[in-house]
Symmetry: D3
């Protein structure tokens, strides 16, 4: 069905720091979670606890941070996230500026914090280099300017891949509400190709069957399969439907 060489990483999308939910997705076979810090309800103290828990479960933690700003990027990485996804990157220049906040000098401009990431002990130069390699920075492609510059963005040294934001991209590419139609998929394919050229992975939320097929066909490195709210909604809805059939309603 695809010429891809390896399984994509399969991710769940979380809106709250629910520990049981993390155990459930890990047991269900997920590889990764996306924390929607941008629109969810993750406070700092909660993140400081949740991120290391997720990592101990063996889940890759992609922190979709609050805003394209220094503070939220650094904190997610300080707390141990494997990757940051940076929303609303506007274009190549903006990407160049903001992605450096996720990499230590000389590559970037991330601020040093002792603690979790260095084992609560001292560091040396090799630690900075290992951190820069271990943690990934994914600018989101959801603005028209970023879409236009996607090849240049994907090529940046401070960029380890890109994260597609289909709903915002459709709005900003003047197609109105995202409907997962042919034009949307053409845009996504263009992003996938830019990443392939840069030999870097791309990440896609793929709620529907068609989106999952597309992501798989286009060799997405990480495919986000469903979100917390939708899992709850479908789970609770299925049970009430079952009961109503018993009631003969």
């Amino acid at each position: 069905m695809s010429g891809r060489n390896q399984h994509p990483s399969l991710a769940a999308w979380f809106s709250t720091p629910n520990f049981a939910e993390a155990e459930i997705v890990q047991q269900a076979g997920y590889d990764a979670v996306v924390l929607d810090i941008e629109h969810g309800s993750f406070d700092l103290a909660a993140l400081e606890r949740y991120i290391p828990f997720l990592r101990l479960l063996g889940l890759t933690v992609i922190a979709k941070v609050l805003a394209p700003e220094r503070g939220p990027i650094q904190q997610a990485l300080d707390f141990g996230a494997d990757a940051v996804a940076i929303p609303h990157v506007e274009n190549e220049k903006h990407a160049r500026y903001i992605t450096q906040m996720g990499k230590f000098p000389t590559l970037g401009d991330r601020s040093f914090a002792g603690g979790r990431t260095c084992g609560y002990g001292p560091t040396d130069q090799s630690w900075y280099e290992r951190q820069n390699r271990r943690t990934a920075v994914y600018p989101m492609i959801e603005d028209a300017g970023a879409f236009n510059d996607v090849s240049a963005i994907a090529a940046l040294d401070t960029v380890d891949g890109v994260f597609v934001g289909p709903s915002d991209l459709s709005l900003r590419r003047n197609r109105g509400a995202y409907s997962a139609d042919a034009d949307d998929f053409t845009d996504i394919e263009a992003i996938a190709k830019a990443c392939a050229s840069a030999s870097k992975p791309w990440i896609m939320p793929a709620w529907t069957h068609a989106e999952k097929q597309l992501a798989y066909r286009l060799d997405a490195g990480t495919i986000i399969l469903t979100m917390e709210h939708e899992a709850l909604r479908s789970g609770f809805t299925n049970s009430i439907d079952e009961m109503r059939s018993i009631e003969g309603v």
Copy 2:
């Protein structure tokens, strides 16, 4: 399909004070929620916020309290719960003692607290009587002694119905792990009959199709259809199964 005269109240079982989840179950058509305070993670400050939110959504709040003790019963009612389910009632004598904590004198021994339940204003005698009628007390039938005394328990003035605990009941009736088999259902039917004789409702967690059918057939007043953890588990599992079929795994 049944001779019952009215629809049962359909409930969801919650383990955390998740506000979005409450909105989701209300939109899915649920009538009530059971808060598993006994085994979940509901702290006092969280309950004080969650219970009035659930009631504003139009959901009936059944607080399954921490233990058969005065404190947890009073607090759930102070915070505005519609009902308390009291775990591990041992027999009729114990039921008589502990259920009075949910009713004001002279009917019972609930302690007065101003605030939410009296509109943050003064009270008069009629308020106490209205509270005693508005809020329900449901002893759980999950111990062998309580099962033996179920008719006497259901008949108590301080009891508004009973709540079945099938897993613990099976363990304590020496059938080992609950398997929803014929013997389990015979016990449940006996409880339903005792309630019917006392003209009081009974409540049953009914995870499987067979349990849902039983509860419906035996005119359960409230049927609990699924729980938060199971909704999450099924939602996340279905998505990964879908993806694996695409992958051809």
Copy 3:
């Protein structure tokens, strides 16, 4: 006493996410609350719980956000706020830039988030339009530059009215500490007139009797009557004064 055609909306000013306080102000007859996220102690998880609770109580929620930045504006709206008040807008250019964060394209640049505001289900183009109409964006007029540009700001498509910040405005208009004097009221009247010309409402904190009269006379759309700290202070002070008169102190 005024030629105004309709009652103003009466609001309370909150500094903490206190659920009982919300019930108390609703019962006292308030129409709206201002959440002082800028200077109060509202964390994300608290806001995600408090905003929908306030709305279920029938209170209009005006979120005075942390700063004139994309993140705080989006989050308040994602959590269901009826309006955002944006502090420290510097001038018309700044207003044009920052108020677009509260409106979806093509009108503005708000980022899409599924969940509460779309009923945890899918959206279509009409939803974006309805959101843009349902939620209001109020730049604050508290900087000298914004005061000078108030007519242009009020006229912006992305602006639904303005929110006066008298203390900061007095400081920045070189009158020093705000004293609710004639010069302060002249400034406020100028803001009211700019809004009247733009046929848009304006909002004013009116702690004193004179301020309440001014706001009423000038047809303020929302008048903020008192704040949490002051309600507590006056309530506790009155009781101790009463006691001291009994003591003959």
Copy 4:
């Protein structure tokens, strides 16, 4: 107006761990606060933070604990409370049993915890004796049995005074809803006399003017003047009344 020799301690009644509220009552001249842990929303972690803060403000902390049980009594004292008020003491025998949980052996049976109360360092025998003297235990007189035994209860070595619960007492003395009438005041006077005989203080919530006068006349050691909810209610109501008079409503 009274022959009393010293000013009573004036207290505020709190339902939440609000730090600003504590500063406000301290500045208003209050001497003490009652934390209504029994019916309010004070979790353990919040109490651990709030109690030492109140004490640093110079406020005496009276913790009205969750229930007449070992755990809640010990925790309030471990966190540094000056006194515990124990609800629902049933009679002298019950008082004898439960009040010992607030005193170390050999006087009582309080469990030792290192930490705050011993300055995070070691202890010696004199520390136990000083703790027993520094911290007060106040059984509540709100059950008919406790009322009957009030003299014996006040005389116990493990009792430092009593705390009147007028609403529950009225219900349990078969007068129905408390109305601060002559019979209620007769009961309160009997409690005051029992304490005078034992040379121990008594504590009374005195919301109305008549109750404040009574408490003062009967030499109450601590008079609780108003509660958080009522302070908020009166503060917010006064402001809306003022506005309505301006509106001419």
Copy 5:
């Protein structure tokens, strides 16, 4: 130095749910942690998050519960604790009653909760048996009555070992403040022997060198080496001492 055959488990004593502290003790080589829920500030929601985190770090979790009551014992085990230490067990009869709350029928009377401990899925009879074996119940020996009955307590089927509470034991054995003297050690040795006879482990907090030596010599199964407060105190004190030597103070 001892004839013991195996290394004791080395434990740290925690008073707060600090995630970084857990990582630090794990990296320092500790095997276990004791959560002082009885005197610390562990709320339910915090425990539900902290216990599984500690276990993923490879640390054995001994939850010293709030009180000798059903609720706190069950919750700690529901959240995944490896063991519960039950304070203030009064004697063999009390031990027999309360320790059964930590074991499922037919061995004991623990209440069933789905969720974490059964992998969020269904259970069968073998699961109950495995849980009873996997989780340990340690009554505390800190009351005089429990000390007298220690051999009988250690022999109970529902008891997996005992946990010494030296400070309370000294007070209740009429030696006043615990001073780690010869009489204290004689008591501890008696407890150790009772456990050896029952072939069950015992656990001892051993803050001083002499206590550590004693615990090691007497083959304690778990030795608690220091506590959070003391670690902080010594760490901060050492640094200020160092600075003062530089200052020449």
Copy 6:
């Protein structure tokens, strides 16, 4: 050992809002605490509680804020902090812009908030002036540009001193990982001299003996002696080392 005229203020570095830790450092003799809001886990509601507690303990509170932005600076000062340390100031121009957020007009551009800092009452012009004097603004010198401009930065009216960030400074001055070597100390000495010329204090984290000596010799106004994580690490490590020596490991 130094020609300095007064003792430096001795500070502890905190990563969490731990109330017991605050009491421990105060008792150990510390004068001040640095709250690492930039990299720690301090949410708004926690800060609103912690800062006034620290001040009541007599500790000077230096809030190292989240980012060089208006919001975090204002909030720390609104909650009562004595000083803000502003990370990642890039150069003199940036310092001039961002430090004004910590000073009210006409000196700077801090936004007014009623409440704690003005005693929950009204303010007059003198209050603004007193606040500007009472609260200090310390830009951090940790970027190469700020280092180059340190004399100009130290001379700004809105700057009350500077705070050295040695690890980031070493990275950004192209020396790689900070090693407290001669080049690092040369940089620090240059900063100290710039402050001496401007007659303003400077602040230095001084973990090692050599750093403490340097800071003392160069008349640092505040010397930060150790951090929470290191205090825990050394405390827990020392105890396990002691035990291993007993074990003969």
